[in-house]
Amino acid sequence: MSALVQLVDVTKGYTDAPALHPTNLSIERGKTTVLIGPSGCGKSTLLRIIIRLIAPDSGTIDFDGSQITPANIEILRRRIGYVIQEGGLFPHLTAHANILLMARHLEKSDKEMRTRLSELCELTRFPENLLARYPLELSGGQRQRVSLMRALMLSPELLLLDEPLGALDPLVRASLQKDLKEIFARLRQTALLVTHDLAEAAYFGDEIVLMNEGRVVQQGSITDLRERPANPFVSEFINAQRSVALA
């Protein structure tokens, strides 16, 4: 089975985001791919290029067999979910309205939306009675669950998560990590997750892509990275994070 997303020789010069040297990457269906690396390594740029918040300078990106272009991206975005660090919820809309925003825009039936919404609440363990609240009336963890529901509302083939747990305190983060992993498994969700935390990468990643200075340094399982580092930077990165965790 072919990859869901295929990046071929994608580049981006340094203008409004860290630069990207010619990069190739495939995101396999049903798997969680994790992009990891130090800040400024280009991992976020790569993720944002896929949903075309940043236009690449050159190279091609295929989604489900067809090339992403400025003309078709608006339609393709509806097949991609996007979750960012602070949730990106619109403050003037209730949790409920945030989640249904796109479905309403596409004029889905009320019944369909209601059914999907209770499924999602159950899936993300979000109490339905909080749906009427505005983002500012929710805790950080609750906001991320709402953001996840919004991203999953249209059952996207690909879920992009940019440091989704980065702003949460450790306890909330741990419980959300666990839930997120369960959700990915239950949905057999294809996901691309950006993090700078190796433990999180190891916990989620079927496939880990380590980046540095705009290049993919090594791609593989956590065991591959640990035991067969492609170069000294890989061991250095892994050991540095480990010693921080121990200290």
Binding site: I84, H92, H105, L160
Partner: protein
């Protein structure tokens, strides 16, 4: 078929009556008591002949009235032969009435015979002061360079005004201040100035015990009062105006002016003319204060409301463009900014000579619209620019179309800022709309202006207090509107 014909006839009848009713003879007047009174006299004269007429009171100075007459925004206004020669025909020569009439023909303007009085310029002083210093003629002022002189702005600039007068009489005075005509009388009475320019028929001369200094060199030309009218005016109206010639002598005009200043009512003063002239005692229906207040309020709301609506309808889209930055964005913000730095009075004056505008409510609304633009454009732009990038990107990433992003996300998020811009515009507009009265557009500025003219504080307050109250009410209603229009999630 029959009913169709009948319908057409009814429509024709209505449109004919509408045309007739919508085209009364428009009379203008300058911003001083005598001109107001003459305007009222012309209005009643026409009305009594069965010709509908409207009086746009106190529209401004000579140039504004003349341009309005030529442009067809008004049909009639009272003028003085000296002013016509000096300011309109721009000649140094003393022209005869016939010469003036001939010269005006090419502008499509006609002139009545003199009404019967010569309202020339004069310099006036307090009588006791003049006697104490032994000043009888304008030339005598040369012996007292310490005297403070307060002159109207028009007199300071006129070709038959202060500069040539000073040269003619070799006056040494340098201590000159520019002051409004009515305020000048108050300043003269209080002693903050010693000499001012006046019209020889001003009621204040007798009232305040002032003396007019003799013009021994015959410097001031003759200022015989006449009516100017458009030659295209209907014949019966022209005939009625001609009928006024020679019916008003100097003493009578002084009395009418005094009556106007005493009663604060130009219509009443004008009625006095008719009582004596025709022996008729029928007074035209006097408007009560509340009727006037209602009229001013309606007009004020119309001026401020329409202009605000225009500012909103164009300001928000311009603000959206401006929020995108770049050369166009900066140009839009720059334009709106410049508009607001132009003094409101100057903006009005600049619009008046333009073809579509002239002396009209339109002009006032256009000026207010331009004035109210900046707060709305700026607040819309900054409200949109303040939306965090992460939220803009979230909206894009969701797959919303650009229009949906704007309507469902960006504008609601910027609503607080946009509404506060609209509120600022509304309050500014209500204040600035008082100036609309200067070009005869009415509103609360009307009593303020005539109060200034009569130096009557009560009349000024009749306009100033409601204007302030209206601004407060608008402010409160917007605070209320905030609660309805700003999404609850943004008010937490």
């Amino acid at each position: 078929m029959k009913s169709f014909v009948r319908l057409t006839l009814v429509l024709l009848f209505f449109s004919a009556t509408l045309c007739f009713a919508a085209n009364p003879v428009l009379i203008g007047s300058k911003k001083f008591t005598e001109s107001y009174v003459l305007g009222e006299i012309a209005k009643r004269t026409l009305n009594e002949t069965g010709i509908p007429a409207e009086h746009r009171q106190g529209m401004g100075g000579t140039i504004i009235l003349w341009e309005a007459l030529r442009g067809g925004q008004i049909d009639v206004y009272p003028e003085y032969t000296g002013t016509i020669a000096q300011e309109i025909l721009r000649t140094e020569r003393q022209l005869s009435v016939q010469e003036i009439r001939d010269a005006l023909t090419k502008f499509g303007v006609g002139m009545t015979e003199p009404l019967g009085f010569n309202n020339t310029y004069a310099l006036v002083m307090r009588r006791n002061e003049a006697q104490r210093l032994g000043i009888r003629t304008i030339g005598d002022l040369g012996k007292h360079p310490e005297l403070k002189i307060g002159l109207t702005h028009e007199f300071l600039d006129r070709r038959d005004g202060w500069q040539p007068l000073r040269q003619r009489y070799s006056l040494p005075q340098l201590n000159i201040v520019g002051i409004d005509h009515a305020l000048g009388y108050a300043a003269l009475a209080k002693g903050s100035i010693d000499v001012k320019d006046a019209y020889s028929t001003d009621a204040k001369i007798a009232e305040n015990d002032l003396v007019a200094l003799a013009d021994s060199f015959d410097f001031f030309p003759k200022y015989d009062a006449v009516f100017l009218f458009r030659t295209s005016l209907r014949d019966d109206a022209i005939a009625a105006l001609h009928g006024l010639a020679g019916t008003l002598d100097e003493a009578r005009m002084v009395r009418l002016n005094a009556e106007a200043e005493r009663t604060k009512n130009y219509t009443k003063a004008a009625n006095l003319y008719f009582q004596n002239a025709a022996g008729s005692t029928t007074l035209t229906g006097d408007e009560s204060f509340w009727q006037k207040l209602a009229r001013w309020t309606l007009r004020h709301l119309e001026l401020a409301g329409f202009s605000l609506l225009l500012s909103i309808v164009t300001g928000i889209p311009l603000g959206i463009f401006a929020s995108r930055g770049g050369a166009t964005g900066n140009m839009i913000l720059g334009f709106a900014g410049v508009m607001q730095t132009v003094p409101s009075l100057a903006l009005l004056a600049l619009l008046v000579p333009l073809p579509f505008f002239g002396i009209s409510v339109r002009t006032a609304i256009a000026a207010l619209f331009l004035y109210g633009l900046l707060p709305i454009v700026r607040n819309t732009a900054s409200g949109l620019q303040d939306i965090p990038r992460s939220l803009r990107e979230s909206a894009i990433a969701l797959g919303l179309t650009p229009a949906a992003r704007l309507w469902r996300i960006y504008l609601p998020m910027a609503s607080r800022s946009i509404l506060s811009g609209i509120k600022t515009s509304a309050v500014i507009n209500i204040g600035t709309a008082t100036l609309a009265a200067l070009i005869g557009a009415g509103g609360y500025g009307e009593p303020i202006l005539s109060g200034l003219n009569l130096n009557d504080h009560v009349t000024i307050l009749e306009g100033a207090v409601p204007a302030a109250l209206l601004a407060l009410i608008v402010q409160w209603s917007f605070d209320l509107l905030d609660r309805i229009l700003i999404p609850k999630g943004l008010r937490l």
